[in-house]
Symmetry: C2
């Protein structure tokens, strides 16, 4: 195979304290305080930077992930650091790697969010990225005085669309050369290059300008996660990278083609939006070593945790009365929220005739993400095929276990480089540089000039 136009892949490290596998915290190598230990995150961030990864990435939650306290008592996901504060700290102990924080549009004012990311972009010298999500769980809403329109999927996305527009306008409210800093004349700011945005829309009314001058990237990189129809439209319109869960090449190709086509329909170039599926790789020097590593994790999955995953993805049904070693009963009613995951689970269970226990072991470990258990060559083959067959522009690596990122960097990255698929060292300084993204034109300045 040859590289696509000599392009290389992007690599993100999607970090979770001890690893993404639901039982990773019980792994012998796991530190009990990994979730709140800055030294742990610093080690992982510097490790990813040492391999010239494009970015590190953190998810977020504004509530406990469940009200099933049997489950809560058995998961590290009950408590996580807030990603903006964590990434700001990591900005101070890294130099080149991109820093992507997930923040929901549902519970934060756009002016605050624009400031947080502009500030992080200044602090990091141009390495900030915002992963836009629209939260939708009842538990989150109940922590935020149940905001209006929150529970409606379509309204959440309509709000998110306007929200992203406001944030981008605020980032554009200072032109790149607005700071004069002229001590002699006493002029610090060129007032002709600072603009109100005077946004008055359906959901937000924001005058601006931002109280933070234009940051090194001009605009922090806008990433989007979420693969629903509304999510794809929003991504195609606004996102510069998309984090997505795609478990087969065919699915990945469909998603990739659809989002790129939608982006073109909005007048964008297909290179303006990068598609980064998540991958959960369990790597061994041999296949049997990989399978053994995986089995160590799988043996630590408690039934309460495994069942919780299936139950919540079927819309909160209770499977506790069914034998773990019997078949999955078809008792979950289809709803808009569970439709795609319900079909996925039921199909999987039927096609392979899985018991409830086999089903949760099949998917709960990697929580539905693309799971690869194999040798460095096999994993490199899979990434290469997704890349060459237009299923991905890069990948968000989800290390399964405390040393999963070490394994990927030690074993897979050299193979990707041997194939000419991944950079040997950083070529640029900013996250935009790493991802090969242009700085979008300043719409506010252009409007002001035209006026």
């Amino acid at each position: 195979m040859t590289n696509r136009d000599g392009k290389k892949i992007s690599l993100g490290a999607f970090l979770h304290p001890s690893g993404h596998h639901v039982a990773a915290w019980r792994h012998p190598d796991a530190q009990p305080d990994a979730g709140v230990n800055l030294a742990n995150y610093t080690r992982l961030a510097r490790l990813a930077e040492s391999a010239s990864f494009d970015l590190i990435f953190f998810a977020d939650q504004a509530a406990l992930p469940s009200e099933n306290y049997d489950y809560i008592s058995r998961t590290t996901r009950a408590t996580l650091l807030e990603p903006l504060t964590l990434l700001s700290a990591l900005a101070a102990v890294t130099e080149r790697i991109g820093l992507v924080a997930t923040v929901s549009t549902s519970f934060n004012e756009p002016y605050n969010l624009a400031r947080y990311f502009a500030s992080l972009d200044h602090i990091s010298g141009g390495r900030a990225g915002w992963n836009l999500v629209t939260s939708g769980t009842r538990l989150e809403g109940e922590n935020f005085s149940n905001p209006p329109g929150y529970s409606q999927h379509d309204e959440r996305y309509a709000r998110a669309r306007e929200y992203a527009e406001v944030v981008q306008k605020l980032w554009d409210s200072w032109e790149v050369d607005a700071i004069l800093g002229d001590k002699a004349s006493g002029r610090f700011v060129d007032r002709s290059k600072v603009h109100r945005i005077d946004h008055s829309g359906q959901y937000y009314s924001v005058d601006g300008p931002l109280s933070v001058a234009r940051s090194p990237q001009g605009r922090p990189v806008l990433i989007q996660a979420g693969s629903s129809a509304s999510g794809r439209e929003l991504a195609a319109l606004t996102a510069e990278a998309v984090f997505t869960a795609q478990r087969t090449l065919a699915e990945a190709q469909e998603f990739y083609g659809d989002v790129k086509e939608k982006a073109r329909s909005y007048g964008r170039d297909e290179d303006d939006i990068k598609i980064l599926p998540g991958i959960f790789p369990v790597i061994g020097r041999t296949e049997s070593e990989a399978r053994e590593k995986f089995q160590v994790l799988q043996d630590l999955v408690h039934p309460v945790v495994g069942l919780n995953y299936i139950q919540s993805h079927l819309g909160g049904i209770d499977l506790s009365g069914y034998p773990l070693d019997g078949p999955l009963p078809d008792i979950a009613p289809e709803t808009e929220a569970n439709r795609s995951r319900r079909v996925l689970l039921l199909d999987l269970a039927r096609k392979r005739n899985l018991t409830i226990r086999e089903l949760y072991l099949e998917i709960a470990g990697a929580r539905g993400h693309w799971q690869l258990v194999g040798t460095p060559n096999e994993i490199a083959d899979a990434l290469e095929s997704y890349f060459h067959e237009r299923g991905a522009d890069g990948f968000n690596i989800m290390p399964p276990s405390p040393h999963g990122l070490d394994d990927f960097i030690e074993l897979v990255v050299p193979e990707l480089r041997r194939r000419g698929l991944f950079r040997e060292a950083y070529e640029g300084r900013t996250l935009r540089d790493h991802l090969g993204l242009k700085t979008p034109p300043n719409r506010i300045a252009a409007a002001a000039t035209a006026a």
Copy 2:
């Protein structure tokens, strides 16, 4: 004089990029990019830590400070980093010093704020403090879709009171020993020690628990700024330290006595709330050196900047038609918002027969804070008398110029130590330790146990 019960003073460093004097950025030593340069802030934070200061402190603004663009073009206050992100970065490059960020209750959801500070407290190993303010300017409101009740002073404070209660409940929603991390049994969390808060009040409805486990300080330190009647009540009820502007010993004593008495009326001990006036010290080895240093800054105050200060404090009147070297006209109508500052300015101008220019030079440099120009001995005398005469428990030092903090640490701190007023080195690890504050009892856990 003897020390009060052997107690020592607390010292904060209230940092502003090149210094607090309105013309500090024009000082020959100022770096043009000081406001966005992490290395500048890192130097200042480490400098304060090297002298075992209790804390560093950042103000905040969620809008430009004025819509007078003549002024905006001449001030570095038009653009500042957001303090939560900045302090999180500084947490990673310091070890002992407290980290206090100003965040308004007007535009942030309490669940988010509780997470930010709990996270910063984890990242920093117990050094986080929240300076609670209730924003009230029109320019800020217009960046946040003009939230309901925002423009009413009393409602803002009523909201702030409930807000602080929600935040503290969320910090208490995890007990100190809730994390088991028991790999063998698979129990990560002791579910009996994680509590919903089920807050349902006049303004907020928040179920909890927080999605961040209890942080090292239990509760990040709650600081309050604002000296209005409502501000004093709120501080007496909730704050553990108060940052305030007091320009004479008599004023400081009145404020100190009143807030401590109000705190006692809420059943608190007077040592549970520390009073920290700001001080703007210009220090020379001799009086004439101090005056020369001050004059360098004063000569750089542009009339537009000086006038803006007077005009905005009189409620936005326009003085541009009056001669700078003539008297201050009595043209500003008294309003609730400008009452105390208006009286202050008019009294000052009349008593000393000052021209407009003399008036703005008198107060605009330090923006109304307690300004001391003198030798290390004179400054130590002033701090000692405020401390011994019950006007202050410590001070928030506002360095006037790029090396103002260096001057204070090199010249004044040794004198304070010689007098037994300030610690030689850190004795504790957390901001609570430094300030001598107890951890408040966990109200949520107590309620859950009682139930």
